[in-house]
């Protein structure tokens, strides 16, 4: 009895190995589970020499709130270390006392079209034009990591014409 079980087990074992090992190897090859823990880091340089050009730091698309607004807002650092905001493909509606400001992107005030209380913001200047490419110098106090939303803001009516939430470039 014991002998019979032994041979049956031994035969079964070889079948199990013959079938199981290729299955395991195939499964490993297909899923490569070890890659879940192994990282492959690379750090290629940019494919062009652009050290003398202004470097984009943050960028985002403008979206309309109280008025239809579109375009791109990008914060650049120029080679002399100055930071400035540049609006491109920009269109908004014209209006009274419209300014470009930076605000905190997690500020609840930005959810509404009209701001009720005082908006925690950094003033960049009066809107130069309601259409076209334009630049605004960032004051040294403006920290784009803290104030990461560009808001086209009508001071007179506290209306948010449009805003862009910036993300690292």
């Amino acid at each position: 009895m014991t002998v019979q079980t032994g041979t049956w087990l031994a035969r079964k074992k070889w079948i199990l190995i013959a079938v199981g090992v290729p299955v395991l190897v195939a499964a490993w090859w297909a899923f490569r589970p070890e890659k879940l823990w192994i990282n492959q880091k690379v750090n290629e340089p940019a494919p062009f020499a652009s050290t003398t050009d202004a470097q984009p730091l943050y960028t985002g698309r403008l979206e309309g709130k109280a008025h239809q607004t579109s375009g791109r807002a990008t914060i650049y650092k120029s080679s002399d270390g100055r930071e400035y905001l540049r609006l491109t493909d920009f269109t908004t509606s014209n209006g009274p006392d419209v300014h470009v400001i930076l605000a905190r992107s997690d500020d609840k005030d930005l959810d509404q079209e009209i701001v009720k209380d005082n908006l925690d913001s950094v003033e960049l200047g009066a809107l130069k034009g309601n259409q076209g490419d334009q630049n605004y110098d960032l004051p040294a106090t403006a920290d784009p990591t803290k104030y990461s939303a560009v808001v086209i803001y009508c001071e007179r009516f506290h209306a948010i014409f449009g805003l862009a939430k910036l993300e690292p470039f």
């Binding site: 490569r32 879940l36 990282n39 690379v42 940019a46 494919p47 062009f48 960028t59 791109r72 690292p168």
Partner: protein
């Protein structure tokens, strides 16, 4: 008087060339940023930025920055002919047209991929980190004009 004029001619020529210099420099344009977008991916958390540049010689380059995804088998970078790939649509439809840019060089870090010449960027609007073996979309970055 004549001597004065003779001296003035080279000076004027110098001033002329100096005045011309900036306009010559202005034409010397470097790589142009065409499109950019950020990655999203839920199934395999993917983040970072994808940007397409056009080099001076006309070559198109896709560059990934601040990039991070999970490592996996047979992962490629592709451009797909779609506005975006939804997070919950983990698998790309078999008929989704795509342009192969190469195997993913690393699952972390900055990296560049050449885009085949003649690729229509107005048609291929999304970068996908794509596992060929399982037809899985690790993450996607819809591109928008920079």
């Amino acid at each position: 008087m004549i001597r004065n004029i003779q001296a003035a001619i080279p000076l004027a020529a110098m001033a002329f060339t100096l005045a011309l210099q900036p306009s010559v420099n202005a034409q010397d344009s470097k790589a142009k940023t065409l499109e950019t977008g950020t990655f999203h991916g839920k199934v395999h958390s993917t983040s970072g930025r994808a940007t397409i540049y056009r080099e001076q010689n006309g070559k198109l380059i896709l560059r990934l920055t601040n990039f991070k995804t999970s490592n996996g088998p047979d992962v490629h970078v592709v451009l797909i002919a779609a506005k975006d790939a939804a997070d919950d649509a983990n698998f790309l439809k078999g008929n989704t047209e795509r342009v192969e840019l190469g195997s993913l060089k690393g699952n972390e870090g900055d990296q560049n991929y050449e885009i085949p010449s003649g690729t229509d960027l107005s048609k291929y609007q999304t970068v996908s980190i794509y596992c060929e073996r399982f037809n899985a979309n690790f993450g996607a970055a819809p591109l928008e004009k920079f």
